[in-house]
Amino acid sequence: MIHLMRRRAGIYAAFAGMVPKVFLAYSMWFWVGLVLNTIAMTILVFFWQAVYSNTTSIAGLDLNQTLTYILLAQIFAPLIEINMIFEFGYNLREGGIAHALLRPMDFQSGMYAQHMMQTFTALLLQIPMALVAWLVFGLRFPHDIQAWAVFVISALLGRTILFFFDWILACLTFYTTEVWGLGVLVYGLSLFFSGSLVPLAMVPGWLQTLALATPFAQALYVPLSFLTGITPLSQAPTVLAVQVAMLIAFGVCSRLFFRVAVRKVTVQGG
């Protein structure tokens, strides 16, 4: 049994291992991404400095705390990068879904392995940006090991919840085959509800509750709030338990959605 599981895990690992190779096939992606992300980060720093010019604290956060949060949110932005709606849509339109379904492996597990590797690779490629944040904007990385440990666990759980949520939305493309509108809408919502532009501690209570219920916040704001001290570590067990419950719920729903949606597959173009 253990041997079989190890063998299967090896297959999925090999499958995921293609991701960095594909990433690195186009080195230009890396450089363009680095420049654009650095520009976006600079704009956000100036924006928040302007916001704090007439005040010392917003929702209990001073400028340094907010800047630390925003810089870290930009560095860890790959945690909320989702593209399955576009990926499914493209594969359905171009017929690539046929080959994807023909691999002798669980389709969702294969995609999960690939997406986690994509996130990990993208995070590694953010190291130069982290250096810019440290050298240019004076970002001080937290040095509490416990906070980092909770952050990693929470980020893993949150990223997985977001994967399942993205999967459910992507299943809709089996019915619609139109993806652009849905994809753009979800991207817009992810920017706000994940807390990548504004710390969710600053938004009104009801909106914060709503945002925290979304997978976007679970993937970025919740883990980052431990790292930046917004959420005390004493609350970690409760928060992580909620994340586990959300993961199970979204995981089960995503399997059910796919089981029904895959019956609707049509392979375009003969």
Binding site: A25, G95, R263, V267
Partner: protein
Amino acid sequence: MAVIETENLTKVYRTTRKDPGLRGAVKALYHPQFVNKLAVDRINLQIEAGEVVGYIGVNGAGKSTTIKMLTGILLPTGGKVRVLGRDPHRQRVDNARQIGVVFGQRTQMWWDLALIESLNLIARIYEVEPARYKQLLDQFSETLELDELLRLPIRNMSLGQKMRAELAAALIHEPQIVYLDEPTIGLDLIVKERIREFIRQQNREKGTTVILTTHDLGDIEELCQRVVIIDNGRLIYDGPIATIKDRFGKFRVITFETCNPLTGAINLPEGAEVVTNGHGPEDHKLALRFDRTQTSASKVAHAVMDQVEVVDFSLSEPGLASIVKQIYNGALREEFAE
């Protein structure tokens, strides 16, 4: 033993019908009209292990849809399908282990990576023993001339190179059944021949069952013992190529080159008629068509040679292409309707 069995296999697609123009698009938002398209209509098939079956029909006849149901990608709307004793849709992963598929217009490989990277991963996914993989890779490299391609990204390959790579990827795990959906589309003669030889070799040496859909009847003639013809989703012929040739290929053409220019009429035996009676630059040429169920080539030749002096003559039988053209034009459809 039948490795593929279908019973009344049916697929209906439901599509929306929009009236043209902006008005039609807006109307479709509020009152979408759905149309059912019967793509595959109650097909019954039994394919034995080791057979090479040509599955042909005009564009839109339902060939690819059938293949996709057999591979487990599409769920049939009705009927039954068993591949190696399994329901290919419900047992998609188990079924996938035993089959190989080439879709002529799509790739299963990683577009941006070298071929060897894709092959290595495919071998890993299908759990091919490393020693066996190395052996197969060497064999395939030789037969399909892959050596120079192994380090080349798929996106940089020509169509012919890509198809050779696809075949290697589809067969590297030694599947029991291979579905080849238009594998020679757009390829030159040399590449076609190499691919045909490779398929023949896999079938001969490993007993691989091959289901081949193609518009290239050369593929069918060179590879298949059996042909299945589908029209408007319905199976209209299933049997040996020889039978269909006998049935629709009863006319032969015999062409004579005469010593002197042809002038007068020639008396011919019953069942023969003139196709070309030389005029102008071809006034030494006489082409006759005869029904071989009514007369024979020797009788026609004798009749002509008794009346004119012949320098040379040749006999040609209709190719599969012209027979299939007749069938696509409705020859079998009419019989089927009766």
